[in-house]
C-alpha cells in the first residue's frame, strides 16, 4: 500500500520555518521514509512569507505533491495563502494566538504560550508546532525527539524536545476529528537527506578537488560554505575572493599549477567570470564552474529558480573553443556529474560548466548513499619524461590528432610550462603567425571529437512508442517524470526525453528519439524556450510547442500535467 504524506510549514523569516521543515524531513527520513522537500523564501532576513514543503512516502519520490495533508501555519498569512491547497481530509494547525480558523479542519494550538510555559522560551514556538503536526499523525514521539536533540544540540536541544512534546500532547488531547495521516516509523532509515549543492560539494571532494575559490551569491553560497567548513579535514584550500573575476582566475591559476580546482557562482557573478571562461579555453586549463541559476537578468529574483542561462553558458565569450555543459537532473546526479565534470575538465583541458539552479540547490531528497568504490578519477594525460621525451622538448600546446596535449605542471618536472591568453604556438609563446593560429584553433576544437563521445545518452522515461514526447533538461527531471505518470493515467500516451549533458549536444540521439514521436514539447523554466532553440540549432527539428514557466517558482508534477494538457488538447497559446 502506498503511503503518501504531504506537509507544508509556513511563516515569516525568523520564525523558524526552515528548522521545522528540516527536522520534520529528517525525522521521516530517519523513520525509513523516502522524503522530498523544497523551500520557498524571500530575499530577506526577517518578515515576508516563507514556506517549506515536505513529501514523504514508502516509495521513492522526486518532487512535491499536491494537495496537503497538514498545513502548519506559524502566522495568519500562511493560512490565507495556502488553505486552498489543503486536501479535503487535511488539517490546518495554527497558532491560536496569531491566527483565525476558517472552514474545514483546524486545530488551534497556543504555539507561543506553550513554548514559553513548558520550554521557557517563546522562540521555541516552532518546535511546539512541529510536535503538534506530528501529534496529528500519531508518529512515534521518542523517535522525533532524538532528531530534535541532534538537530539543536545540548541544552537547547533538550528544551526543544520539551517544546515538541508539549505540542504533541496538546494536539493528541485536543484534536477530535479523524487524523489526516497515520504515520509510524517504517524502520531505521539509513538514507541520506541532502540537497543538490550538498551533493555537488561532496562530489567535488570525492573527485579530489583541492582548490575552491568563490564569492558569496545565492544560491551558490552553500558550496563555498560547505567546502570552507571541511577544508581542513579534507586537505583543501578554499578562498573567499574579492570578487568573481578573481574567483575564476584563481581557480584557473591553481589548476595550471596542478590542483583540481573549481568555483561556484550565480547569474551576475557568472557574467563577471566570462572572461575567465575564455582564458581557460585558450590556455587549455581545466576548471569546473558551477553556475547556480536564478531568475535574471541582473539581480533578478535572488531566492527563486529558473533555467534561464542555458544559451548564455553555451555561447558566452568571444571566439570558438570547446567547453562542456552539464546540468544535474537530481541530487544523486549532482554528485556523479560533478565528478564527471572534473574528469572531463582534466582530460580535455577546458572549462566545464555545471548548471544547477535554486530549486535543485535548496530541495532536499533522500538518497541511498554513494558507492565510493565507483568513483573514477581521470586526470587526463600528464607529461612524463619516460613517455613524452626530455623536458627540454616539452611543448604545452603540442599539436596532436586528438587535440589533447599532455599536461605538465610547473615545478613538478624540469619541463617549462608556458601558456598565454594571447594566441600562441605549440610552445605557449605568443605569436601572430597565421599558420600557428589556425593550427591552434583547430587543435582546440578537435577536442570536441573525443568530448562528444563522453556524453551519456539522454534518458527516455515512459513508453518508447508514445505519441507525445516532453523534452526537459536539468533539475525539472523529478517533476517531469511524475507528470508523465499523471498524464498516462488517463488514456494519454506520453514519454519524457531528459537531457543532463547538454554540450557537446547529443544531436543524433535526440534526433532519433524525436523522430519517433508524433508531437514534442519542451518543458523549461524560462521564457524563451532555450532548449527548443538548441534542439533546432543542433538537429534542425522544430518542437511542436513549449511549456514554459518563468515566475521564479519550480514546476510541480500536477502543474506540468495541466500545462501540457492545455497545450496538447487546446492548442498552443502563443
Amino acid at each position: 500500500m502506498p503511503v503518501e504524506a504531504n506537509f507544508m510549514v509556513g511563516g515569516e523569516a525568523g520564525q523558524g520555518v526552515q528548522s521545522v521543515g528540516a527536522v520534520l524531513a529528517k525525522t521521516l527520513a530517519r523513520g525509513g521514509y523516502h522524503v522530498f522537500a523544497d523551500q520557498d523564501y524571500e530575499s530577506r532576513i526577517r518578515g515576508g512569507h516563507n514556506f517549506f514543503r515536505i513529501r514523504a512516502s514508502n516509495m521513492p519520490v522526486a518532487a512535491i505533491k499536491e494537495p496537503l495533508d497538514i498545513l502548519v501555519a506559524l502566522n495568519q498569512e500562511t493560512i490565507d495563502l495556502h488553505r486552498m491547497e489543503v486536501a479535503p481530509g487535511g488539517v490546518v494547525v495554527y497558532d491560536q494566538e496569531k491566527g483565525q480558523p476558517g472552514e474545514g479542519n483546524y486545530l488551534g494550538v497556543p504555539f507561543t504560550r506553550l513554548a514559553q510555559e513548558k520550554a521557557g522560551n517563546r522562540i521555541m514556538a516552532n518546535s511546539v508546532a512541529f510536535g503538534a503536526a506530528l501529534g496529528l499523525t500519531g508518529y512515534d514521539l521518542d523517535a522525533a525527539a532524538n532528531i530534535v536533540r541532534g538537530f539543536f544540540g545540548g541544552d537547547v536541544g533538550e528544551a526543544n524536545v520539551t517544546a515538541t512534546r508539549a505540542g504533541y500532547d496538546y494536539a493528541t488531547e485536543n484534536f477530535k476529528g479523524e487524523r489526516p495521516l497515520n504515520l509510524k516509523p517504517l524502520g531505521d532509515g539509513k538514507r541520506l537527506l541532502m540537497n543538490g549543492h550538498d551533493a555537488v560539494a561532496l562530489g567535488a571532494i570525492a573527485a579530489g578537488c583541492n582548490f575552491m575559490a568563490g564569492y558569496p551569491m545565492t544560491p551558490a553560497t552553500p558550496i563555498l560554505e560547505y567546502l570552507s567548513t571541511h577544508a581542513k579535514d579534507m586537505d583543501m584550500a578554499v578562498v573567499q575572493t574579492e570578487d568573481e573575476i578573481s574567483a575564476i582566475n584563481m581557480a584557473i591559476g591553481a589548476s595550471f599549477a596542478g590542483a583540481r580546482a573549481m568555483t561556484a557562482t550565480s547569474g551576475s557573478g557568472f557574467c563577471l567570470m566570462v572572461e575567465g571562461v575564455g582564458l581557460a579555453g585558450i590556455t587549455e586549463t581545466p576548471v569546473v564552474i558551477v553556475n547556480a541559476q536564478r531568475p535574471g537578468p541582473a539581480v533578478g529574483l535572488p531566492t527563486r529558480t529558473e533555467q534561464g542561462d542555458l544559451l548564455f553558458v553555451l555561447h558566452c565569450h568571444q571566439g570558438d573553443f570547446p567547453r562542456a555543459v552539464l546540468a544535474p537532473a537530481s541530487v544523486e546526479d549532482a554528485f556523479w556529474l560533478t565528478i564527471k565534470a572534473f574528469n572531463l575538465a582534466d582530460k580535455y583541458q577546458l572549462p566545464v560548466i555545471m548548471l544547477t539552479d535554486h530549486y535543485l540547490a535548496t530541495s532536499y531528497i533522500t538518497v541511498d548513499g554513494f558507492d565510493l568504490s565507483k568513483v573514477v578519477i581521470d586526470r587526463g594525460e600528464t607529461y612524463s619524461p619516460e613517455r613524452h621525451g626530455p623536458p627540454q622538448e616539452y611543448k604545452r600546446h603540442k599539436v596532436t590528432g586528438s587535440g589533447i596535449s599532455p599536461r605538465a605542471f610547473p615545478g613538478l618536472t624540469e619541463a617549462l610550462v608556458v601558456t598565454d591568453s594571447d594566441e600562441h604556438d605549440e610552445t605557449g609563446h605568443l605569436i601572430e603567425d597565421a599558420r600557428a593560429r589556425t593550427e591552434q584553433v583547430e587543435k582546440r576544437l578537435r577536442k570536441l571529437n573525443g568530448l562528444g563521445q563522453e556524453t551519456s545518452p539522454p534518458e527516455v522515461y515512459g513508453p518508447p512508442n508514445a505519441e507525445t514526447t516532453l523534452v526537459g533538461w536539468g533539475s525539472t527531471w523529478g517533476a517531469l517524470r511524475e507528470s508523465i505518470d499523471i498524464l498516462n493515467r488517463g488514456n494519454g500516451k506520453f514519454n519524457l526525453l531528459h537531457l543532463r549533458e547538454l554540450w557537446p549536444f547529443p544531436s543524433e540521439a535526440v534526433n532519433s528519439i524525436l523522430q519517433q514521436a508524433k508531437r514534442s514539447y519542451v518543458v523549461e523554466s524560462n521564457a524563451a524556450g532555450q532548449l527548443a532553440r538548441l534542439i533546432r540549432a543542433e538537429t534542425g527539428r522544430l518542437v511542436d510547442g513549449k511549456v514554459l514557466k518563468y515566475d521564479g517558482r519550480p514546476f510541480t508534477p500536477s502543474g506540468i500535467a495541466e500545462q501540457v494538457k492545455e497545450e496538447v488538447y487546446h492548442g498552443a497559446k502563443s
Binding site: L192, M194, M236, N249, I252, G253, A254, L416, D422
Partner: protein, 290 residues
C-alpha cells in the same frame, strides 16, 4: 625523485625569445635586472613561475625563461596567488604594467596585499598605457596630455601609499635605469616572506616624453643612503608622498606577518599539486546527512 642534473644557473639560463619592445625601452632594464636577481639567487627556471598581465610589460616572461602563465589584462595576481597555494615550492613573480596592476586589476591589488600571499609583484610603471598606444594611466602625472586626456590627466593614484594602508608587508620602488639597484630590490622582494610590491620607474621612449630616462635620473635618490627605516610605517607613509623634484627609490616599507599559505592547514602536508586523490576520504562526511 627522478635524477636531476643540476645545471649551474647563469644569465644564459634566462635567455628567452627576442624582445619585440621598442629599442631603448625601460623594459630591457627590468628584464635584465630580473634575470640577474634570479641568477644571483640560484633559482632554476623550472622552479620559477612568472604570471603576467597584458601590456608591453606583460610580454616579459616570453623574453626570459621559466614557467609562464601570461594571463588576462589586469588579472595576473589571482592566478599567481592561487598557483602559489597549489604549489608553494614555486617562486612566483607577477609581471605587469601600471594600467594592468593599478587600474584593471585594482580590486585584486587592494585585497591581495593584506592576505599576504608569498609572491612578488613587479609593476613596470611607465605612467602610460603603452600597448594601446599612449593613453593616460592611473599613475600619469597631473596634467599629462594624451589622446584620451587632451585637457591633461587628473591627479594620479598614490599606489604605494594605498598599498601600505591596504596591508602590504613589503613595498619598494626602483628604477629601470639602475640595473644594480633594480636587481637588488627584486632580490629583496623575492626573499621577503609575504607579498612584495615593487614599483619600477620605467621610461617609455615612444609614448611618454615627459617622464624620460633623463627626467627620472635627475630625480631619484636612494632611501638606504638617507637612513630611512622601512619598519617605520609613519616614515614610510611620508616617503610615498614624495614625488616631483625628488623621487625616493629603495625599500619603503617592510613588516613580518604570517603568509596566506602559512594559514592553510592542508599545505602542512605538502603542495596540493602533489596530493594523491582518495575518494574514500569523504566517507565520514556522510554521517551529517543521516
Amino acid at each position: 625523485m627522478a635524477l636531476r642534473v643540476e645545471q649551474p644557473v647563469t644569465m644564459e639560463s634566462y635567455a628567452g625569445l627576442k624582445p619585440a619592445w621598442c629599442p631603448g625601452c625601460g623594459n630591457f632594464g627590468i628584464l635584465r635586472a630580473l634575470n640577474k636577481a634570479l641568477v644571483e639567487m640560484k633559482v632554476q627556471p623550472w622552479q620559477l613561475l612568472m604570471v603576467s598581465g597584458i601590456g608591453q610589460a606583460g610580454k616579459l616572461p616570453h623574453y626570459s625563461r621559466g614557467n609562464t602563465f601570461n594571463s588576462l589584462h589586469g588579472r595576473a595576481v589571482p592566478p599567481a596567488v592561487a598557483a602559489k597555494i597549489a604549489n608553494p615550492e614555486l617562486v612566483v613573480i607577477v609581471i605587469g604594467g601600471d594600467g594592468d596592476g593599478y587600474s584593471e586589476g585594482g580590486n585584486h591589488f587592494l585585497h591581495v596585499l593584506r592576505r599576504n600571499h608569498d609572491i612578488t609583484h613587479i609593476v613596470h610603471d611607465n605612467q602610460v598605457y603603452a600597448l594601446t598606444k599612449g593613453q593616460a594611466s592611473p599613475t600619469s602625472d597631473e596634467g599629462y596630455v594624451s589622446k584620451t586626456t587632451p585637457g591633461g590627466a587628473l591627479p594620479p593614484l598614490n599606489a604605494l601609499g594605498v598599498a601600505i594602508m591596504a596591508g602590504a608587508t613589503f613595498v619598494a620602488r626602483t628604477f629601470a635605469g639602475d640595473l644594480d639597484h633594480a636587481a637588488r630590490t627584486i632580490q629583496e622582494g623575492v626573499r621577503h616572506r609575504g607579498f612584495a610590491l615593487i614599483d619600477v620607474l620605467q621610461p617609455c621612449v615612444t609614448f611618454n616624453h615627459v617622464n624620460t630616462f633623463k627626467w627620472y635620473s635627475e630625480r631619484v635618490y636612494k632611501l638606504d643612503e638617507r637612513g630611512h627605516n622601512p619598519q617605520d610605517k609613519m616614515a614610510a607613509l611620508e616617503v610615498v608622498q614624495q614625488w616631483g623634484e625628488r623621487i625616493p627609490i629603495g625599500v619603503i616599507y617592510r613588516e613580518q606577518r604570517p603568509t596566506y599559505e602559512d594559514r592553510i592547514p592542508a599545505l602542512k602536508k605538502g603542495p596540493l599539486a602533489k596530493q594523491v586523490i582518495d575518494p574514500q576520504r569523504i566517507a565520514p562526511l556522510f554521517q551529517e546527512f543521516q
